[in-house]
């Protein structure tokens, strides 16, 4: 399994805004937050094909998601729209500021994950049960 280290950021997108206003349980919302954006050379390094899922992990947790190619991102930087998938990777440490470190944390991406991507319902259940 090919792997690369990246610096991960999350943030807002228009689609995410449109989707959340329809409702968090809508398809539009899920579609707007269930993927990671990668630079094309990084996608190549990972040997990714369009239909592949990727697994992203770091000390805080891991998540399996779809992926998209984006120009504008340098190699080594990845972006996940702000939401329940992205939040599997951020931690509770705020260094006494109250604010977790949401932008610029390290993460590992593995290509062609065989695991399934969780649905929103499944994420909620896993959070409820503490897993």
């Amino acid at each position: 399994m090919k792997k690369i280290d990246v610096t991960l950021i999350s943030g807002r997108t228009t689609q995410q805004g449109v989707g959340l206003e329809e409702g968090k349980t809508s398809e539009a919302y899920t579609k707007s937050v269930d993927y990671i954006e990668l630079n094309s050379s990084d996608a190549e390094k990972l040997g990714l094909k369009e239909e592949y899922l990727v697994k992203v992990s770091n000390e805080n947790g891991s998540v399996v998601l779809k992926w998209k190619k984006t120009d504008g991102l340098d190699s080594g930087i990845a972006f996940i729209p702000y939401g329940p998938w992205a939040n599997q990777l951020f931690g509770y440490e705020t260094e006494s500021t109250g604010m977790p470190w949401f932008k610029g944390i390290p993460a590992l991406i593995e290509g062609e994950s065989k695991e399934n991507m969780l649905t929103l319902q499944e994420i909620v259940e896993s959070l409820r049960s503490g897993k």
Binding site: G11, T14, G19, D74, S96
Partner: protein, 425 residues
């Protein structure tokens, strides 16, 4: 059929107030002047609504749900009251009252958004303005760690880059727009200059700029060449009216409030040379209101603890993430927010361990995880009230439609909870 004009949009900190809605049969059929996200809010307002009060997912009467909520709050030793950025000011005041009555903690979404900006203000200040001055006078606009083309869609049109005003009749032509970001966003693409910065190095670059503004020589910093830094410093000094709009790129990366501190000091320094300001790009349409109301009622903007009977403030201790991570609250009342979607997962796991009461208009991961969920009228569409724009300008939200039968506003529900708690404590 009715056409209503001058509607205030309840989505983001832009708080645009020029929307026009066509209302037919208590339903919004058309909306004008709305950005894509706003359009979604107005036209989809009836989709995915919380249909009924529930306890553990089971439908119950409103009275039963309120009794359960009041019971949880009055028997808890230290409840957390959180959210508030997507509802109106009267409700926020009631949330403060509940926190005081229960000896709990009140916090709002600025905790995970522009809280660091407030921390910086409390350290060094802030030189700001309402948005009309930007429209009327600016010739240099810098978006730092902010991407309005994706998050504040009409900002450029109404207030900044493209707007035309009193001394800026030529609009975009006579403005120089710079985007500072770690990636080339759509904002960066439309800017006159894109300065790409290495992740987590904003503090260093801001300090270098301050030094350059004072006439010191600087090296390459944060992936930006010293020539680019000197050029930017000079451009800032020679602007007639410059402004930095900054976003979560500064508040959420390494350094947090120190990044803003550095930006504030840079702008203060520039005031020796010319007119320069900075303004945070507030996310939700009334997060500024949440801070404003909490401040005038308690003295503090967020993370306010009432366990001793008077307000105490300590970000890092009374902020929601920290309280939940350390298991220091035993119940939660979430109002107009979805922390299950927005908090780090291992914090949400802690939230899931305590009884949660949520007031929201739509189904969300938070309502799904709640012990008690209460549907509310959508503020700004089904309920009136005040909201504060990102620059502090207060506007009145409209009531365009009647909510569904039996559905109350946040303020009404909170009042009913207060009545029930008042008797129990």
């Amino acid at each position: 059929m009715q056409i209503v004009t001058d509607i205030v949009c309840p989505f983001c900190g832009c708080l645009c107030d020029d929307l026009e809605a066509t209302i037919e049969n208590n339903h919004i059929s058309k909306i004008k002047n709305a950005c894509a996200i706003s359009r979604s809010k107005f036209l989809n307002h009836s989709k995915n609504r919380l249909n009924s009060p529930t306890i553990d997912g089971e439908k119950v009467s409103l009275e039963k749900a309120l009794d359960a909520a009041a019971d949880i709050l009055s028997t808890s030793r230290r409840p957390l009251i959180y959210g508030l950025s997507s509802t109106e000011c009267e409700a926020i005041g009631k949330a403060v009252e509940i926190s005081e009555l229960t000896g709990g903690v009140i916090d709002n979404t600025s905790s995970v958004c522009h809280g660091p900006t407030i921390l910086a203000l409390q350290q060094v200040g802030e030189s700001k303005t309402t948005l009309g001055e930007v429209k009327n006078r600016s010739d240099l606009i810098i978006f730092w760690g902010s991407n309005p083309t994706q998050a504040h869609l009409r900002h450029l049109l109404r207030y900044s880059g493209i707007s035309k005003g009193l001394y800026t009749s030529e609009g975009r032509k006579k403005r120089f727009i710079i985007a500072v970001d770690i990636r080339e966003t759509a904002t960066a693409k439309m800017a006159d200059q894109f300065i790409k910065i290495k992740p987590n190095k904003d503090f260093e670059l801001l300090q270098a700029l301050s030094a350059a503004v004072r006439g010191y020589e600087v090296p390459d910093v944060a992936g930006v060449s010293k020539d680019e830094i000197m050029e930017l410093a000079n451009r800032m000094k020679n602007a007639k009216f410059g402004i930095v709009f900054f976003g979560l790129g500064l508040t959420q990366s390494r350094g947090r409030h120190m990044n803003i501190d550095a930006a504030v000091m840079l702008v203060a320094e520039l005031n020796h040379h010319t007119k320069f300001l900075l303004t945070p790009m507030r996310g939700h349409y009334n997060v500024a209101g949440a801070n404003t109301v909490t401040t005038w009622q308690t003295g503090y903007p967020y993370a306010v603890d009432f366990s001793r009977g008077y307000p105490r403030y300590n970000p890092g201790e009374y902020t929601s993430i920290d309280l939940l991570a350390k298991g220091e609250v035993d119940a939660a009342l979430i109002i107009a927010s979805d922390p299950v979607s927005t908090f780090p997962a291992n914090v949400v796991r802690e939230l899931a361990k305590i009884p949660v009461i949520t007031l929201d208009h739509k189904i969300s991961p938070t309502t799904m995880l709640s012990k008690v969920a209460l549907p509310v009228a959508t503020a700004g569409i089904e309920g009136e009230g005040t909201a504060y724009r990102m620059d502090g300008v207060p506007l009145r939200l409209s009531k365009l439609l009647e909510p569904e039968e039996g559905v109350k506003t946040d303020a009404e529900l909170l009042d009913m909870i207060i009545e029930r708690i008042g008797g129990k404590r």
